[in-house]
């Protein structure tokens, strides 16, 4: 197991939503758990997020959306990843997302949606089990 690359995660805030408490906590928790974490900061368009993800060669994107715009933003990001040939980047996320909307997002390619009240340990374990380096 020589020099196995660390899993790299982009934690992103898409759209105009400014609620970043959760994104910052998840970013920090993932970093403390040993992952390489890049945090986009606020107000990134889907295009900016996909561009950063590819540039930074990440293995997964964790999106935080509390603005109600999830049904547009998640699928748009997945569409752009496919367009750029980077659809092996795992997309997951959380925020204020009604239960009824989750199946639709999963069908569109989102791998997991973490609901309010999720412990950071659960997210860390999920990432360990579901995300591996794209280019080891």
């Amino acid at each position: 197991m020589a020099n196995e690359r660390k899993v790299r995660i982009l934690v992103g805030k898409a759209g105009l939503d400014g609620h970043d408490r959760g994104a910052k906590i998840v970013a920090r928790a993932l970093r403390d758990a040993g992952f390489e974490v890049i945090y986009t900061g606020l107000h990134h368009t889907p295009e900016m997020i996909v561009e950063t993800a590819i540039q930074e060669d990440v293995d997964a994107i964790g999106l935080s959306i509390l603005s109600g715009a999830h049904n547009y933003l998640f699928p748009e990001i997945i569409r752009l990843l496919e367009e750029k040939g980077a659809d092996d980047i795992v997309v997951f996320g959380g925020g204020i997302i009604p239960k009824d909307d989750i199946p639709g997002l999963l069908k569109k390619g989102v791998k997991s949606i973490f609901e309010p009240g999720t412990a950071t340990g659960e997210i860390i374990n999920w990432v360990r089990e579901n995300v591996s380096p794209r280019n080891p």
């Binding site: 408490r21 910052k24 920090r28 606020l42 368009t45 049904n71 547009y72 009824d100 009240g117």
Partner: protein, 555 residues
């Protein structure tokens, strides 16, 4: 407290006896800290109140230092305003919800705008895609504002509007709607949030960097002092600071530090403090920890009174008064077992009333999932009405005054908050503190610490990490009509077709010139809005003249 040294000594001796017994008996596995992590005395006695002086520290409601309340009559003269934050979809949708809430007995309006409006984008801007009407009402032009307040006479209601970097535009629209209704501006009463400092710290809605943003806030304070004298041009807010994860002391300290910042800027502009101070208002969170929250409100009033009288030399008692709105803590609600949220909100609302708030919004049980349904918001409103009419707390003013633990916590929070304010002064004031990320980092650290406590099981959230049920009861949630996007865009296209576009261009140019010349922007923005210049178009002038602020992305 009229206890002499001999009595205090006797109390201290007997407390030691009690402490020995307390230590020897088994206790539940619980830590006696507030949700913020502040330790609370297991038993408070007169000994906890060193040097307490009733006249100096409490006084009477309606006079310095206002610890017991800002008005002499408090809820005997008038109940707090029941003001439910509302807004979604189209202006017509929100107008209907406004009317519904007024019919159910709320006594003031409170407006939530959608993200594009809040961030300075018209509904047809690419960045608005997917966001129109989702988090609040969509307003791009005066026409939307007119529809929002259709059949609502602006001299018959008080309206609060939660909007910040585009507050100047929205206030201008409100003033023009009033004009068109034949209501003179000196009859308008309400609040516009317009607190940019807390945006950089916590709520995170901005266009331009801090200094020009604050300049516009001061423009609005100056303008309202002269032209809209009953209006509150700022609602200096701690709510969002707390929601971002701060402790209660940080919420208190950073809010008052922001207030100090605005007063300082206004004085530097040449305004007399007594000319504008009484129009400043505040907005605090009211969170789960009952003892901490009641103490926080009382400490806030006493601190602001001292700051205004002693630090700024204000002479009018009205200038010393901290009048506040409160909202129950959104971040304390759970998606699991949502009916429990009704109970949380009731306890939080009680704390706000014991704390002496002037105005209150109670959250709905379904707000961790979506914006509130009519049923859910009615329960939230009834919560306030039941407290007012059935609980009896309003029968005596500041009923917890004199409680040993409440007075001890009030003192302690004041002291710790003043320590923070001193630190911010040493950094050169709140704007410099924001430049270096001081409050932002304090809040992020506090938020992370709290999450770690939760994950460890050190803090219990019923239904989430204790008393968890497998089956989830489904409750109906509000869905935003997907047509809203299309309809708003069509309305905007129609406005652009029918308005005098040359006049709009001229007015926008005039705003840019005034901005470059350092003039008060309000009259120019009002002129532009009369011609149906839009939120996005005016915001673009700000972007061009003042620049765009980018999130430094601390985490």
């Amino acid at each position: 407290m009229p206890f002499d040294e001999r009595e205090l000594e006797e109390i201290r001796k007997r407390k030691e006896i009690w402490e020995r017994e307390y230590r020897n008996l088994s206790k539940r596995d619980t830590n006696l800290t507030t949700v913020s992590g502040m330790d609370v005395p297991p038993l408070a006695t007169p000994g906890d109140l060193n040097g307490f002086d009733y006249i100096r520290d409490l006084g009477f409601p309606g006079s310095f230092p206002f610890t017991r309340g800002v008005y002499s009559t408090m809820y005997h003269g008038r109940l707090w305003t029941m003001r439910q934050f509302a807004g979604f979809g189209s202006p017509e949708d929100t107008n209907r919800r406004f009317k519904f809430l007024l019919e159910q007995g709320q006594t003031g309006l409170s407006t939530a705008f959608d993200m594009p409006t809040l961030m300075g984008y018209d509904c047809d801007h690419p960045r608005a895609r997917g966001e129109v009407g989702k988090e609040g009402v969509s307003v791009s032009s005066l026409a939307d504002m007119e529809a929002l307040f259709a059949d609502i006479k602006l001299d018959e209601v008080t309206t609060s509007m939660t909007i910040n970097c585009t507050a100047s535009v929205i206030l201008a629209m409100y003033l023009v709607v009033a004009e068109k209704q034949g209501v003179s501006w000196d009859r308008l009463d309400g609040t516009i949030q317009n607190d940019m400092l807390k945006e950089f710290i916590a709520q995170r809605e901005w266009i331009c960097p801090p200094r020009p943003s604050v300049k516009i806030v001061v423009d609005m304070i100056e303008f309202c002092a002269k032209r809209v004298p009953k209006w509150h041009p700022v609602s200096i807010s701690g709510y969002h600071i707390r929601e971002a994860g701060s402790t209660a002391v940080q919420e208190l300290a950073f809010t008052l530090a922001d207030g100090i910042g605005y007063v300082q800027e206004c004085i530097e502009r040449g305004l007399d403090v007594d000319d504008f101070a009484s129009q400043l208002s505040f907005f605090f969170n009211v969170h789960n920890d009952f003892l901490e929250e009641v103490s926080k409100f009382r400490a806030a009033r006493r601190m602001w009174a001292k700051i205004m009288r002693e630090r700024f030399g204000a002479k009018e008692p009205k200038s010393w008064m901290l009048r506040t709105h409160a909202q129950t803590a959104g971040a304390s609600l759970t998606a699991q077992q949502p009916l429990n949220n009704i109970v949380r909100v009731a306890i939080q609302a009680l704390a706000a009333v014991f704390g002496g708030t002037q105005s209150l919004h109670t959250n709905s049980m379904d707000e961790t999932l979506a914006l509130p349904t009519e049923e859910a918001v009615t329960v939230a409103l009834r919560t306030q009405q039941i407290i007012a009419e059935e609980s009896g707390i309003v029968n005596s003013i500041d009923p917890l005054g004199g409680s040993y633990v409440i007075e001890a916590l009030t003192d302690r929070m004041e002291k710790e908050a003043f320590d923070y304010i001193r630190k911010i002064d040493e950094l050169g004031g709140i704007i410099k503190a924001i430049d270096i990320g001081f409050p932002q980092k304090e809040i992020a650290d506090a938020a992370y610490r709290y999450q770690q406590e939760l994950d460890r099981g050190g803090k219990v959230i019923v239904g989430v990490n204790k008393y968890v049920t497998e089956e989830e009861m489904a409750i109906p949630t509000l869905r935003i009509n997907e047509e809203v996007d299309r309809n708003q865009i069509e309305r905007l296209r129609e406005i652009r077709r029918r308005r005098n576009n040359e006049a709009v261009r001229n007015r926008l140019g005039a705003i840019a010139r005034a901005a470059r010349g350092g003039e008060n922007l309000m009259p120019f923005i009002i002129d532009a809005v009369r011609e149906y210049a839009t939120v996005g178009e005016i915001s673009d002038v700000f972007r061009e003249v003042y620049g765009i602020y980018r999130d430094p992305a601390y985490f």
